[in-house]
Structure formats: structure tokens, C-alpha cells
């Protein structure tokens, strides 16, 4: 017997239609690949984004990006191309982050980003808008022109609320022009950790935070990571650990905007309050701050 019966062939035909991955499982694999491969996987996207930037943005040389990708041999030539591009650092960072963070999910709006960069020089604004449109088209797979750009926005699921936190993280990195643009993978890990924490999965949040620390120990979002660690410990009820971590956070990131988040934890709120109420040496030169109470040292 070298051929299959008609009945068997019919079964094979039917089964073909059923054997396709669901969109959610496809997304799961894609997100895991991003988390696993990080910089390297995103480099190609960032590089093509940079190529667009080169065409459209101004001629501001981004010396601050000279370190981009140097920590990752796997990023290879794509990252090299990125480093070589002569365009605005802010423009490239915003564009790469738009792609990396996947605004196609509709989590936050493109006009909002464009609005944020309005404050910059005119050429940066123009370049950012153009690249943002391009990035949007990557994700939505719509044509990249002004007409379909608006259509693409409308086609995205609007049921997802504007994500202020995600936006803030994006802007936080974009404001640090010396940060290598290839490290947008950092953003992905922190967002994942935040997402897991929001869902009540502290273990998963800790896993993503560990992954972030392993790859970006002193990264641009290291204060976000450490603040979230405090909250994770707090949620687990680990009061002593949370307080110790909060103390270290206050010492290390005294001017971080993440400091306020620690007030949400009952174990660490007092530490933040003490810190914010303490006189600053810069404000009162010559005045030595009071030592911490003795019973605080056990934390």
C-alpha cells in the first residue's frame, strides 16, 4: 500500500485547518524570545528604524550612542549600523522604544509620544513623528503614509486604556541620551515585571527583575527595578527585607522619582517620609544630619 485511503486523506485535510497557533500563543513565544534574546533580537528592528531616522531626521551627530551594542557581540552588524547613524539620539531612542515596546498593542497612543517630543528642537520633532509613524506601521503592518497612519491607529484595539506607566518609562529612558539605544530590552523586562506585579504574581515579577538585574545591573531603569523589588517584598509580607531594601534604595537613588512609590508599602513609608523630611546638606551647609535611630540599624 503506497497511497492513503480517501477517508484518511479527508481527515488529513481537515486537521490541517485546525493545526494553527492561536494569536495569544504566538505572542507568548514572541515575548519570551524578546526576553531571552533581548538586545540581539531587537537590534535588527532598531537598525532598520535607525536607517529611517537617517533619511528623515536632522544632522545631529549622536556621540552619546557610541557605546550602543558594544556589550553584546550578538548584536553584531545591525547594532554597528545603528551606532554609525548620524541622527538625533532622542529621535532614535524614541523610535526604537516605540518598536520594542510594541505600541501596536494599543497600550498607549502614538500622538501622546509625539506630543512629548514637541518640546525638542524642530528637526527632532519632525524626525520623531516620521519614525513613530514608521514604527507604528511595523507593528500594525499598515502602509506607511500619512493617510493610513491615522487608519492604523483606529484599527488598534481601543479597549486598552492609555498606559501612563509605560509612557513614563519610555520617556524616562528617552531623557537619558547617553543610554545605548539598543537597551530597549531593559524596558521590556521592567514592564513585564510591573505587569506581573499588578496581576499579583510576585514570583514572576521577581523573575523578571532578576533577569533585568542580570543584564542591566546599572541600567537606566535600575531605580525602577529596585523600587519594584521593595514593593514585591512588601506584598510578600517580608517586612524586614523590604525595609532593608528600601534603606539601600534611599541611599542609592536619593533623587529618584521612584522614591514616592515606596510610600505605598506600610513597612517602608516611614523611611521615605524620614528621608524627605531630613534636611539636605546642600540646603543647609555645615549642618550634620542626625544619625539614624539605634533600633533602625537592625533593618
Amino acid at each position: 500500500m503506497t497511497t492513503l485511503s480517501a477517508e484518511t486523506r479527508r481527515m488529513l485535510e481537515l486537521s490541517r485547518a485546525a493545526d494553527v497557533p492561536s494569536p495569544s500563543r504566538e505572542r507568548a513565544v514572541r515575548d519570551r524570545l524578546i526576553a531571552e534574546l533581548g538586545v540581539a533580537a531587537l537590534a535588527s528592528v532598531a537598525a532598520s528604524t535607525a536607517a529611517v531616522a537617517t533619511e528623515t531626521a536632522g544632522a545631529i551627530t549622536s556621540g552619546g550612542l557610541s557605546a550602543a551594542g558594544s556589550s553584546s557581540a550578538a548584536a553584531g552588524s545591525a547594532t554597528h549600523a545603528l551606532v554609525g547613524a548620524t541622527t538625533s539620539a532622542l529621535t532614535k531612542i524614541v523610535a526604537a522604544l516605540i518598536v520594542a515596546a510594541g505600541i501596536g498593542a494599543g497600550a498607549w497612543s502614538l500622538p501622546a509620544v509625539a506630543e512629548r517630543v514637541e518640546a525638542g528642537p524642530a528637526d527632532i520633532v519632525a524626525g520623531s513623528k516620521r519614525i513613530a509613524r514608521r514604527a507604528w506601521s511595523f507593528v500594525t503592518r499598515e502602509e506607511d503614509d500619512q493617510t493610513t497612519f491615522h487608519g492604523a491607529i483606529e484599527s488598534v484595539d481601543r479597549s486598552v486604556d492609555f498606559d501612563e506607566r509605560r509612557h513614563a518609562l519610555l520617556i524616562a529612558i528617552a531623557r537619558r541620551p547617553n543610554h545605548p539605544v539598543a537597551k530597549e530590552a531593559e524596558l521590556v523586562l521592567i514592564l513585564r515585571a510591573e505587569q506581573a506585579f499588578s496581576a499579583g504574581d510576585e514570583a514572576l515579577a521577581a523573575k523578571y527583575l532578576d533577569a533585568h538585574e542580570a543584564s542591566f545591573e546599572a541600567g537606566a531603569l535600575s531605580d525602577n527595578r529596585e523600587a519594584l523589588r521593595v514593593l514585591v517584598d512588601c506584598a510578600r509580607g517580608a517586612a524586614v527585607v523590604a525595609r532593608a531594601r528600601a534603606e539601600r534604595f534611599v541611599a542609592r537613588f536619593a533623587s529618584s522619582d521612584q522614591l514616592a512609590r515606596l510610600k505605598a508599602c506600610p513597612f517602608t513609608a516611614s523611611i521615605v517620609d524620614e528621608r524627605t523630611l531630613a534636611p539636605s546638606p546642600e540646603v543647609l551647609p555645615g549642618v550634620t544630619p542626625l544619625p539614624a535611630p539605634a533600633d533602625e540599624s537592625k533593618f
Binding site: 500500500m1 503506497t2 492513503l4 485511503s5 484518511t8 481527515m11 488529513l12 481537515l14 486537521s15 490541517r16 485546525a18 493545526d19 497557533p21 492561536s22 494569536p23 495569544s24 500563543r25 505572542r27 513565544v29 514572541r30 515575548d31 524570545l33 524578546i34 531571552e36 540581539a40 533580537a41 535588527s44 528592528v45 532598520s48 550578538a74 545591525a78 518598536v99 520594542a100 510594541g102 501596536g104 498593542a105 497600550a107 514608521r134 511595523f138 507593528v139 506607511d144 486598552v160 498606559d163 501612563e164 506607566r165 521590556v188 514592564l191 513585564r192 510591573e194 505587569q195 506585579f197 499588578s198 496581576a199 499579583g200 514593593l231 512588601c234 506584598a235 512609590r261 505605598a264 508599602c265
Partner: protein, 200 residues
């Protein structure tokens, strides 16, 4: 998503885009975009359990990413991917014999899992049932015959392409395919006979 913790913030699922806009088959992004469904179903059909499917597919693309600079394009991308997939699946099979797979059945289901391309619910049920029978019957084949059968009958590959992927000569592939068809058909007949007996 409702935030459980006072310090938690709402963060929507992060869907990072791997795709790029230009057709450049030399990038991981392009390969992922164009061939993900193929890799997914091939890994599944080669015998990786549903609970490990995402892990295995991820592993395939990690290998692809690592070996992409060495890919010279002498074979088609699909042939190359199939070669990688069958090695990854072989690793999973070996691991399975050492340690049974953890039960990680998917209990959650997202909305888009429920979306189907079927015209009617009946069609969907029939296709799902056909897929279940397919996997039951594929499990009756040994690994060598299974992969040849999948590539020939389900992916509609030529014997030459199968030979490239498996590293066999065409005659051996042809012989295996003949045996695989026989075994598959016999298994199907047994299944039909069993179901007919049940319905009596």
C-alpha cells in the same frame, strides 16, 4: 486587570515587535514573521506535547538566531528550519525519556484563542476532532517514519527536500514514506474499526 497591590501600576501586555518592514530573509525578525506557523505545527506534529510547545518553538528560534550568520542559503529557509526543529524535538524526546514532562496544561484561555476561521461551529468541531485523530495516529509511527510522513503528507514537500532535511538519500526517504503510509493507514483502520464497534 485589577491591581492587587497599592504600589502596583497598570501595565498592558507588552507585545514587542520583531517584524521589520523590508523583506530581508537574513534577519530573525523576517524568519519569525514568515515561518512561525510552520515551525509551530512542525514541532507539534513531530511529537512535542502541547504543554511544552511554546518552550520548544522558542528553542528553535533561539538556535535560528544563533546560527543565522552561518546560514548560506544553499537550502531553502524552510528546509533549514525543519532541520533545526527536528534536532530540537529530538532533544525534547530524550529529556522526556529521562524525566516525564511536567503537567503544565493550559488552563487559561485568551479571547483570541476562541476565534476560529471556520464558517460554522460544526466545521470547527470536525477540524478539531480530525486534528485529535491525526495526533493519535502519528503517535503510532516511530520517529523516523513520523517525520517523513509529516513532511510529505502534511507539508506536501518533495522527496528531494525531505532528503536534504533528514540527511537521507531519496530512495531511503521514499522507502520510509511508503512504510509510514502503510502504518498510518493501518492505524487509521484500527481506529475506525474500534469506533464502529463502539457505535454498535
Amino acid at each position: 486587570m485589577v491591581s492587587r497591590h497599592p504600589g502596583a501600576v497598570l501595565v498592558a501586555p507588552c507585545v514587542a515587535a520583531l517584524a521589520v518592514d523590508e523583506p530581508r530573509p537574513s534577519t530573525l525578525a523576517d524568519i519569525y514573521r514568515d515561518h512561525f506557523p510552520f515551525v509551530w505545527r512542525l514541532v507539534h506534529r513531530l511529537g512535542v506535547a502541547d504543554s511544552q510547545l511554546e518552550d520548544a518553538v522558542q528553542d528553535v528560534f533561539i538556535v535560528v538566531h544563533r546560527r543565522l550568520p552561518d546560514f548560506e542559503g544553499r537550502s531553502s529557509v524552510r528546509t533549514w528550519l525543519a532541520s533545526i526543529a527536528r534536532r530540537v524535538v529530538a532533544d525534547y524526546r530524550r529529556a522526556k525519556t529521562r524525566k516525564p514532562a511536567l503537567s503544565r496544561a493550559r488552563t487559561d484561555m485568551e479571547v483570541d484563542d476562541l476565534q476560529t476561521a471556520y464558517a460554522t461551529p460544526e466545521e470547527g468541531v470536525m477540524a478539531t476532532e480530525a486534528a485529535r485523530i491525526l495526533y493519535t495516529l502519528l503517535d503510532e509511527l516511530d520517529d523516523d517514519k513520523r517525520e517523513v510522513f509529516i513532511l510529505a503528507e502534511l507539508e506536501q514537500w518533495s522527496l528531494a527536500d525531505i532528503a536534504v532535511t533528514t540527511g537521507l538519500n531519496v530512495n531511503t526517504v521514499s522507502s520510509r514514506l511508503r512504510l509510514a503510509r502503510e502504518n498510518f493507514e493501518h492505524a487509521a483502520e484500527r481506529l475506525r474499526a474500534r469506533d464502529a464497534w463502539r457505535l454498535k
